[in-house]
Amino acid sequence: METPHVRMRGVTRVYPTETGSLHALGPVDLDLRKGEFFAVVGPSGCGKSTLLEMIAALAPPSEGAVEFEGKPIGASVPDGVGVVFQENACFPWLNVADNITFGLRRQPLAKDEIARRLDYALTLMGLTDFAAAYPAQLSGGMRQRVCIARTLVTQPRLILLDEPFGALDQQTRLLMGDELLNLWRATGATVLLITHALDEAAMLADRVAVMSSRPGRIIEIIETGWPRDRDSRIVSDPAFGAVTGRLWTLLRDQSLNALGPAH
């Protein structure tokens, strides 16, 4: 069997607190297949973002092992991994083009190669007319495109997305979802999407992991079975309703738990 692109075994996260410790996550076992679109949904506070941060080496696991391409993840982000965050991560002092090439300019790349990748990313993300604009002049959706483009130009083999559309309105989210699918098909990268939106996970992913309330564990992984050339119009497919319904059935009790005992 093929080595999983990302492999997590017995991963937990325990935070020290004033009164002792807080078991936030795990143990989690998870394999991501190379080139798949994988989504993780779960109730608030279940540690799904922590899961992503462990793969990005932004937070060390308390126990267990995380591997990317067969190598254990150490103290810094492995080469070939790109991350897009929920918050606006654009650098406000740089224009769109300089934001996108920020990471590239720190790599041993020829100027024309940087320019070529920038053009490609601007075109793919519909930002060509905004190359000289500053982030403050852009809408939230456009800023998120800049962040995606900034990740894209580094040609990552694994793209980690931490609720990237959480701050956007529903229509923009559906359209950004389409762009994400295009990007995934164009790059062939493995995508891990953390989201609280069941419909987003159901529409975009090949597989969706459902997590329990804290301490977060993976309670089930659902295969959506969508074709590779899908887009947001899939939301009107009856099968889409079945997938979201299945996700909600699994998540409902967990979300009630997370909400607290009064319910």
């Binding site: 932004l58 810094s76 982000v77 991560a89 650098f91 002092w93 920020f102 500053y134 580094t154």
Partner: protein
Amino acid sequence: MSRSLPWAPVALIVLLLVLWQGAFLLAGPDALAAPLQTIAYLAQQLTTPEFQQHIAATGTAFLIALLIAIAGGLLIGLMLGLSRTATEVAEPLLLAGNSIPKIALYPIVLLLFGIGLSAKVAFGALHGIIPVAIFTMSACRNIAPVLLKSAAVMRLSRADRIRSILLPAALPDIVTGVRMGFSLTLIGTVLGEMFGSQSGLGYLLMTAIGLQNTQVIMAVTLLLVAFAATVSTALLAYERRLRSRY
């Protein structure tokens, strides 16, 4: 705001001149000099080598003091801002230091540096360094965590992270600190000249007070006010332009 009311600063200056003229009419020529007379006197004084030497003395001391205040404040602010523990320990100390009337320290400054340029510079820098340090420190602490996470994801070295993320992200707050530091350094330098110096605008003010020379007092004050207001306004405009992007 200044864009929608381009005449507002001019109107304000005219209003101040009118108030000044009113105060002159009320208080009489023994206490105050009239605005036009003062402006004319200042213009004439600016051409004399003696006055120019005083300006040069103050200017030199002020520039050195400001450079020390900005460089020192940035360094202290960055060093403290980079560590949460250091911030927690240093912040109350810095704030306390900021509220000390610095003039109380002046005898010690004079003992350490003697009368002359170094005492003026030390006293000016002493005033300016704390606001620059405080604003730099809090700017480093308040940087959006997602920007630091992005830097980590792009595998920036520590030096690159400070130079390419931290400093530009903190720039608007640093400019605020520099603006405050600018005014306070000027105050400190002139104060230093008033009490322990034989040259400069502060010295000129002090001797004029002794001679009850209203014209000189008013002319020097006008020059200092005009300089401080101009630079401060320019810094504020720069700061606003920066902040509109952040």
